[in-house]
């Protein structure tokens, strides 16, 4: 993706900068792992059979695709008045670039160290690129790529999610 050269200084300064470092609300736990496996009828013994998990993965692990699950905020929590957004950089871009609509088009997950029950993960967001303005069937806007990096409590990288978003104005909407 070509990089825009006409970005506001504030947005240009976000590119490759680490933002929104957060720790998960709760440790990785097996109840959620089993619920997730049940939801897609995934019978992989790594998640159900402790003996198989011990032999193959050195103990129980979480399905790699659950990466983002560990970071979605509780629907409610005491003393939390405003619900947090899971990909804040995306919403910052919409706001600063005055692009009221947005869609996510692509998601790439890269898996590193396995995630294990008891792990407490931390996450940080990194804006990788913002395109020049483009016209699509949705409207006029910009594409952007945001990486979400996940680490465990030992500082090991467990995964990276890369999201491609398109923020836009519908035809006829004033900027």
């Amino acid at each position: 993706m070509s990089q825009a050269t006409d970005l506001p200084d504030e947005v240009a300064g976000w590119i490759d900068a680490v933002r929104y470092e957060e720790t998960g609300d709760f440790p990785v736990e097996r109840g959620y792992i089993w619920t997730a496996c049940a939801s897609v009828e995934n019978g992989n013994p790594l998640f159900w059979d402790d003996k198989a998990a011990a032999e193959i993965t050195g103990g129980p692990i979480a399905p790699p695709s659950m990466l983002s699950t560990w970071f979605r905020p509780h629907h409610w929590a005491p003393d939390v008045e405003e619900q947090r957004l899971p990909l804040q950089v995306h919403f910052d871009l919409k706001d600063r670039l005055d692009l009221p609509e947005a869609v996510m088009s692509d998601n790439t997950m890269t898996f590193h160290e396995p995630v294990r029950p008891g792990d407490v993960l931390s996450t940080r967001q990194r804006l990788r690129s913002v395109s020049p303005e483009k016209t699509t069937k949705l409207g006029i806007g910009r594409f952007w790529v945001i990486d979400v990096e996940y680490h465990n409590q030992r500082g090991e990288l467990v995964g990276v999610e890369s999201w491609t978003g398109f923020g836009y104005r519908r035809d006829g909407e004033a900027s």
């Binding site: 959620y32 049940a38 939801s39 009828e41 983002s68 979605r72 088009s105 692509d106 898996f111």
Partner: protein, 149 residues
């Protein structure tokens, strides 16, 4: 295992329970995945629909059903083109597009997977999964420089 190998199809009859269970299992509380009236009246679609993280879980299951537990996902990309609703029979189909050993001796299988409903392509996925080179190899034992997903 070589390029061109076709994976067995997986078909599944999607119900409202499938959609709601998938949303809650991924901690996705957005109403279009559990509230029929929100989905139809606000989103303008015909029903609640499968969320993206749950689709990722379906793709993971499809891949590891084929590889067995020694298969270790390195990378997965997907793009959603259309929604999957209760009442749909979804079908996952896939094929091997490449097999290669990297510099660390890890064998990587690249897969192209399609999630479709009848003649609608709902999502497409590219997956890169490590498999054992021989009976003594275990991709899960790879760390650091020996794991290049």
């Amino acid at each position: 295992m070589k390029a061109g190998t076709v994976l067995p199809d997986l078909t599944y009859d999607v119900s409202s329970t499938t959609v709601v269970l998938g949303a809650l299992a991924t901690r996705d509380w957005r109403p279009q995945h559990h509230d029929y009236h929100f989905a139809t009246e606000r989103n303008g679609v015909r029903d609640i629909f499968l969320n993206a993280p749950n689709q990722a879980a379906w793709f993971e299951r499809y891949v590891t059903d084929w590889t067995g537990p020694f298969g270790r996902l390195g990378r997965m990309s997907f793009r959603m083109h259309d929604s999957v609703f209760p009442g749909d029979q979804m079908r996952l189909s896939g094929k091997v597009v490449d097999v290669e050993d990297d510099g660390a001796g890890c064998r990587w299988v690249s897969l192209e997977i399609t999630l479709s409903v009848a003649d609608r392509t709902c999502s497409t996925c590219s997956a890169r999964v490590a498999v054992p080179v021989d009976p003594d190899d275990n991709p899960w034992s790879r760390r650091g420089e020996r794991w290049q997903p």
